[in-house]
Symmetry: C2
Subunit: 213 residues, 2 copies
């Protein structure tokens, strides 16, 4: 059965999943990079950027799980890029270069239609203008029985949570406070949505929390 998962999603102690003021230079918002410090030393991340080595501890085991069995991804428009409004041309193809780390059909939520983009390594970006339900339907069909991962950003995760469409969520809580940015929890009652903490593991650089329902 296809599971809808949030995974490897980094937040600060005060609940922010991204800093404020996202831009081309700061894709994660101001100080947003600090949320992901647990991930950068891992073997998974180093492999992703074409480097050797990397840690193989608890943080790495959660990085592996986050990518495991993902048949399709869903991303918000801002997670895909800094372009707002209509697409001025076809030049923006994501933050990740020619070979993005998804390696699967990846559905981008947007109000502005655009033709699919076939990238290297199996990633195909599809642009969905009919909302989160339509995107999930398409992602499920594309996932071929494997999981659909809601890749982010914060606003997209919040929309799927509030719609009751997420089955499992792995959060990596980093030991930083941001004070500003996009808050994952504000106004969201996870227990009321049926979630409880089913795993909590102290990693090398973050506390890993799995919420299930």
């Amino acid at each position: 059965m296809t599971k809808v998962r949030v995974a490897g999603f980094s937040i600060s102690l005060d609940g922010f999943g991204a800093g404020p003021d996202q831009s081309l230079e700061q894709p994660l918002g101001l100080r947003g990079k600090e949320l992901h410090e647990w991930f950068f030393p891992t073997r998974s991340f180093r492999t992703m950027i074409g480097q050797e080595g990397g840690t193989q501890g608890i943080d790495e085991s959660f990085a592996i799980r986050a990518m495991d069995n993902c048949g399709a991804f869903i991303l918000g428009r801002n997670m895909f890029g800094p372009v707002r409004g209509d697409w001025p041309d076809e030049s923006w193809k994501g933050w990740w270069g020619d070979n993005p780390p998804y390696h699967a059909p990846t559905f981008i939520l947007t109000h502005y239609p655009r033709a699919p983009i076939v990238m290297e390594g199996g990633t195909v970006f599809h642009f969905v203008t009919k909302g989160i339900g339509a995107a999930l339907e398409q992602a499920r069909a594309a996932a071929g029985g494997r999981d659909v991962r809601i890749g982010g950003g914060v606003s997209t995760v919040r929309q799927y949570l509030q719609a009751g469409l997420v089955d499992e969520m792995h959060l990596a809580v980093s030991p930083v406070v941001l004070g500003q940015g996009e808050n994952l929890f504000a106004g969201i009652d996870l227990p009321a949505l049926g979630f409880r903490v089913t795993e909590h593991v102290f990693g090398e650089g973050a506390t890993h929390i799995v919420l299930s329902r």
Copy 2:
């Protein structure tokens, strides 16, 4: 120099320091007790309730630090008890029985004056009606050079934080989500207040975070 500290302060992953609907039966609000599960097995807690034994690991070391060098405490009215409005009589003397765990002058913020109460074991409850600044002044004078600890609850900690009066804060982040209750962080920008994470230690039952400025 007297430090003003928050310490041993338990919160949920989603930032709640107490559950909703505090009452005589649920002093910590609904599910609030789950925030403190890290503390109950410790030697400090067991000693506090007159029991032997208890764990002596990381959680215990933070429990000891939380009580160390405290010359005076400040508590909000609701942390002292469930009574609201004017004191109907002198019968309510806190949640803690004849020998409260403070063992030092303890200043209760309230709008309703009341005579001090001398408890066993060194705790004296003083009732302060002139606000958080006056309470801190009195607590500083009483602390004799030792630290003043803001004992809670959430609203009291938030008021002292927002007034820029807290020097150090130790939070014990418990692996639960509450969804409702009193949120410590909402609308509070800790970096803007000068705080950064100076320690983070994974304990047996909670992640311990020290914020300093």
